[in-house]
Subunit: 248 residues, 2 copies
DNA sequence: TCAAAAGTGTTCTTATTACACCCATGG
DNA sequence: CCATGGGTGTAATAAGAACACTTTTGA
């Protein structure tokens, strides 16, 4: 039987890009590191994987230790194993991203001492280690995935307006969407339930509230349909308001 | 400074799903294992990552040792880290897939003693370790990616007919495509160069030969266009000939 | 009464689908 | 001369894009 002893072993970690949506902005939860390397610099939350822990377990643990939340959308994206990505030696890291309804949970780091902050993704210019690469990979994955699977709802409270949803897509995809076309499309998929409730206390005509219906989505899939939301798919994107370079 | 000694370290490997296209079938290169565990069983080619090797380097090495080929399309897909996926202990593996023009290279394992074989993907029912999961993940990734990026050409010889290309897509996507619509679409993207050559020695009207033009593709992208090849995107797939379950 | 965002349809354009016959070659 | 796969166009339908005004509320 094969013995593993003669092969190189490495420490490995998970890093978790925790996305939230707040004030019409896609944000990411960053922590200020408390120890070297990169002491006092901003980084993605992450930690070493334990001996009796799967990769997913480790990612869930990192999230829960930081925010107190579990049961969120979690997706593995990519593994980073360059030789010098960690100053202390070879460390391979598996990158995940999570989606959190910030408004729903009133998330913020209480359980841990680390300083942590929700930062608009588009404002992040520099991070410890290769974490900017990791963030970019995860953001690209999210951008693609949000168009073809109904995961965007994970970022909203369970009751939301169509305008909330539109702003979410605009923020993630970095495009402007046409209000009428967006509504027509999302409503025609028949995945939302009109709750017959309206916003309260807003200084304008109150919007109707909707929720996403998982059961309807299963029926939708069973019909062989494909979720697909977005304008300008195979055309020049006329409304690209992106700060292009980083996330092109 | 952080010392890594106190953290759990694991052996880790890369596994490479090497796809080829031959006789109108998408195939995968499998090896018969020569040592325990799973001696004499079929598996994906893979090996332990070395101390001074990046993950990509390791995947390239695995491919080259088996086939003698380098410089092929290679993509990291996912990392598998379940606790008991390897009988000898905890081994985390990073899965890659590669695309090879089988006809062009006349690939087959000479350099190594291991028995190896090109097997149609749809015939693979059982593999060592969790390799069937890995194959499935990589195949799904390929299926998605081949529709939105022009990577299918990596599986064809540099000169090919439009029917070759159509069969490639049909095989990967497990659909039937309409000949006229397929040709209209691919030619309208203006990514192919008509070589003004025809097949020789075929017992029917010889087909024209084309090649993919990388420069044209760059211009295509610069115009903001998106490669997108496939019928029945947001509709019920009427022509699904899939053996559904495994690769649904 | 004003400001602010909600809500709502139609027309035009473009992309997708369905579909059938003649052509060139080798055997 | 037959079998085999190559090559071609059009019409119908569906999806996407562009676009402006009225409504409801709180301040």
């Amino acid at each position: 039987m094969l013995t593993l002893d003669r092969f190189f072993k490495s420490a490995f970690t998970v890093d978790n890009v925790i996305f939230g949506f707040d004030e019409d902005d896609l944000k990411v939860l960053l922590i200020k590191r408390q120890e070297d390397p990169y002491k006092d610099k901003w980084a993605l939350p992450g930690y070493f994987v334990k001996e009796n822990e799967t990769l997913d377990d480790a990612a869930v643990r990192v999230l829960e230790e930081l925010t107190g939340i579990k049961d969120v959308y979690l997706e593995q994206v990519s593994t980073f194993g360059d030789l010098n990505r960690h100053p202390s030696g070879r460390v391979i890291t598996v990158a995940f991203y999570s989606l959190i309804a910030v408004a729903e949970y009133n998330v913020l780091p209480s359980s841990i001492a680390a300083e942590a902050e929700w930062v608009p993704v588009k404002n992040v210019k520099e991070l410890s280690f290769d974490h900017l690469n990791i963030l970019t990979s995860c953001y690209q994955r999210l951008k693609r995935k949000v168009r073809i699977e109904p995961i965007g709802f994970e970022l909203l409270p369970s009751k939301f307006t169509l305008t909330d949803l539109q702003h979410l897509y605009e923020s993630i995809l970095e495009v402007n969407l046409d209000k009428r076309n967006f509504r027509k499309k999302i409503l025609s998929m028949n995945l939302l339930v009109d709750l017959n409730e309206v916003q309260e206390g807003v200084a304008h005509r109150p919007a109707r509230l909707y929720k996403f219906d998982e059961k309807k989505y299963q029926e939708f899939l069973a019909k062989g349909l494909v979720f697909d939301l977005s304008e300008g798919k195979s055309k020049k994107s006329k409304f690209n308001k992106a700060n292009g370079d980083l996330y092109a």
